[in-house]
């Protein structure tokens, strides 16, 4: 499936205003305009082998308007490569500024100004979603000068959010983390004056788990979370480390753009935001426990209400996004359990750094709630032992209905993470 953004696509692009911004990539400081300009056919699917190559491709698009899809070698398998060539793209491996290209199997005319994103593929094969630099630029107006960390995989929606911010807004600098630097990013960030960072809850949990003291030395004034359900525990932990920072969580996707932004430090969004139409802003609704968004920013093929596939639950005055509809609901002997809400209870335990909750096949009941956890490294250092299975079961039993209590809880040695910086996708 492919979808595109509405409206005419302007060509050529106006020169982006942020090309004088500082970027740090591979530990080297330069500006956008110092990046090499690779020779790219139109349309091209660029498989960037390094962060610098991906940024160079993005800058190339911003300058020339070349129809592009940017991704990484590891996200595009042989089948997808063939699909892209069939869809008219020249497949271009870009490594250290050098291009190696394969011609499209079905050539077509390029669409100037078009950018394509690959979805994460969490609901099946990755699909292409059409955007433009304009539709990906969701932050406009005067912004305080910031130096942003970019830990995301090139070509993802989250990566484009940070990249377009820096490309289009003067004073928004960028420090890029390569995958092999992920565990040590606080040192890199502190050295280059990073004061704003965006990451998944898993990214932040891993950072706190790895070295909370090193993280606290990064002078963060803006912390943003997104890409996964954001729970109260991680917001509270970040608030404790950064009492003066603005902490925001964002709901955004390739399909509906950035649709929910919450700054009050609480999980979920206010229930009053539901079904409240406002000109130029997304309308949020719930249908059959699913978040439905009508957004002015989503693509052609996606006009009107879009079923997001994300499950929501209203708890008191907040609408909590608990997880994917197809995996969040666990049916335990006819009783519905939200894996996300159980996960939130586990991560609220002071000795738990990370948790994943799933359903497991079981006799009589059909499925049972089970969990994996990573204990917080400081829980032993504080004089207590890390929580064991029985203690965590008791913790959950005090806070959840009986059928929602995970009875089997496996302890993992470290927080698992994928290239998307998510645990589950």
């Amino acid at each position: 499936m492919t979808v595109g953004t509405p409206g005419p696509v302007a060509a050529p692009h106006p020169a982006p205003a942020g090309t004088g911004n500082r970027i740090v990539v591979g530990g080297v400081a330069l500006t956008w305009q110092d990046l090499p300009d690779p020779a790219l056919s139109a349309p091209s699917a660029v498989l960037a082998h390094g962060a610098r190559d991906a940024l160079a491709a993005a800058r190339h698009h911003a300058t020339h308007g070349t129809e592009l899809l940017i991704s990484t070698d590891s996200r595009v398998d042989a089948g997808l490569r063939a699909e892209l060539r069939d869809a008219g793209f020249t497949l271009t491996d870009l490594a250290d500024g050098q291009t190696r290209s394969l011609a499209p199997t079905r050539p077509r005319a390029a669409e100037p100004g078009r950018l394509w994103l690959l979805t994460s593929g969490s609901t099946g094969r990755p699909k292409r979603v059409g955007h433009t630099l304009g539709s990906l630029t969701t932050v406009r107006g005067d912004q305080p000068a910031r130096t942003w960390l970019c830990p995301y995989a090139p070509g993802t929606y989250a990566w484009w959010q940070v990249v377009t911010l820096s490309l289009t807004q003067p004073g928004q600098h960028l420090v890029v983390v390569e995958p092999d630097q992920l565990d040590d990013w606080p040192a890199l960030a502190a050295a280059h004056g990073v004061d704003a960072a965006s990451g998944t809850p898993t990214f932040w949990r891993r950072s706190i788990y790895a070295d909370a003291a090193a993280l606290a030395r990064v002078p963060l004034r803006q912390i943003t979370l997104g890409g996964e359900p954001v729970d109260q525990a991680i917001l509270d932990q970040l608030r404790e480390l950064f009492p003066a920072a603005r902490i925001s969580w964002i709901y955004a996707s390739s399909e509906v753009g950035a649709s929910i932004v919450v700054h009050d430090g609480r999980a979920g969004f206010p229930v009053e935001w539901l079904d409240r139409p406002a000109p130029g802003r997304p309308t949020l609704s719930v249908r059959d426990d699913e978040l439905v968004i009508t957004s002015p920013y989503h693509g052609v093929g996606l006009d009107g209400p879009v079923r997001t596939g994300d499950r929501v639950q209203v708890v008191d005055d907040r609408v909590l996004i608990t997880g994917r509809l197809d995996s969040d609901e666990i049916n335990v002997g006819g009783s519905k359990v939200s894996a996300g809400l159980v996960r939130d209870v586990l991560t609220a335990h002071p000795g738990v750094a990370w948790a994943r909750v799933t359903g497991r096949r079981a006799p009589v009941l059909g499925r049972m709630v089970v969990a994996e956890v990573v204990p917080h490294p400081t829980s032993a250092g504080d004089g207590g032992d890390p929580p064991d299975e029985a203690a965590l079961v008791r913790w959950c039993a005090d806070r959840l209905p009986e059928h929602a209590v995970p009875r089997r809880i496996r302890v993992l040695p470290e927080i698992p993470v994928k290239e998307t910086l998510k645990s589950d996708v």
């Binding site: 497991r360 096949r361 006799p363 009589v364 089997r408």
Partner: protein
């Protein structure tokens, strides 16, 4: 296949009950309702057997018979491992 003995399954059953603040009596004829061993506990025990043996139990294989006593649970799980 790595099977657990009846005595090993009994130990696991005692652990499941202990985690619920309950005690497994020595008598195999003890009534499950009286000792508070319910369907959630039964399912947990089955998962513990799977985790110990590293083998999935085929819950669909035998028709579910009446399971009313401690002995019924142990017999059922011993048999299920052989399916």
């Amino acid at each position: 296949m790595n099977e657990l003995s009846r005595a090993q399954i009994r130990d696991l059953m005692a652990q499941v009950l202990k985690n619920q603040g309950k005690v497994l009596p020595d008598d195999d004829a003890a009534d499950l309702r009286e000792i508070g061993f319910r369907s959630l506990d039964f399912s947990e025990l089955a998962l513990r057997v799977e985790d110990e043996t590293g083998e999935e139990l085929n819950f669909d294989a035998p028709g579910l018979r009446r399971i009313a006593t401690v002995g019924d649970v142990l017999d059922f799980l011993v048999e299920l491992q052989k399916q």
